[in-house]
Amino acid sequence: DARVTQTPRHKVTEMGQEVTMRCQPILGHNTVFWYRQTMMQGLELLAYFRNRAPLDDSGMPKDRFSAEMPDATLATLKIQPSEPRDSAVYFCASGLAMENRPRLDYGYTFGSGTRLTVV
């Protein structure tokens, strides 16, 4: 059963500390999304990669957030410095694009999320 793996599942950190969240997309998927979910805003798109290249990171606060894909099996989302307002659940999702067009028949597969609490 193919799945998207996110680590850590939970993270509690102090304000000002660096936080790194990791995502292992489904093997063979070439599209990766980062979302943030809060009660107030719901699911917000932060960043979006295809074939490891960033396509859209307009939803991400640039001054403190950064997203990368060091290789096809790892996506990272970093927050430096973290603030209490960053407390949320961060989800990674992966999908497949062929001939540079997204394949939507099976949707995008989400991980279980990283619950971040900044105190």
């Binding site: 719901g42 396509l55 540079n100 997204p102 939507l104 099976y106 949707g107």
Partner: protein, 113 residues
């Protein structure tokens, strides 16, 4: 601006009491509409993709339909295990190579015995 609106925000049903959830959307160039289910503490789980008005898809007690402006998720004779938050999402950017997925706020469904 592209928008996805779901209603109601919360719905309580007695077991066996059928109902529908609504998702209305205003996007330029709909490429596809997704329905997801999300259980507490878990990530969204894919249910359906709909592409064009008139299309319908079914899975067990769930049936999703699509018109030019909205989608409905019909739940027939629900059971307590159907309790979850149901999320609607759209992929716009028809004609581009992008596939950004924008979500509504969801409908929290509770089915009691």
């Amino acid at each position: 601006e592209d928008q996805v609106t779901q209603s109601p925000e919360a719905l309580r049903l007695q077991e066996g009491e059928s109902s529908s959830l609504n998702c209305s959307y205003t996007v330029s160039g709909l490429r596809g509409l997704f329905w997801y289910r999300q259980d507490p503490g878990k990530g969204p789980e894919f249910l359906f993709t709909l592409y064009s008005a008139g299309e319908e898809k079914e899975k067990e007690r769930l049936k999703a339909t699509l018109t030019k402006k909205e989608s409905f998720l019909h739940i027939t004779a629900p059971k307590p295990e159907d309790s979850a938050t149901y999320l609607c999402a759209v992929v716009a950017d028809r004609g581009s190579t992008l596939g950004r997925l924008y979500f509504g706020r969801g409908t929290q469904l509770t089915v009691w015995p």
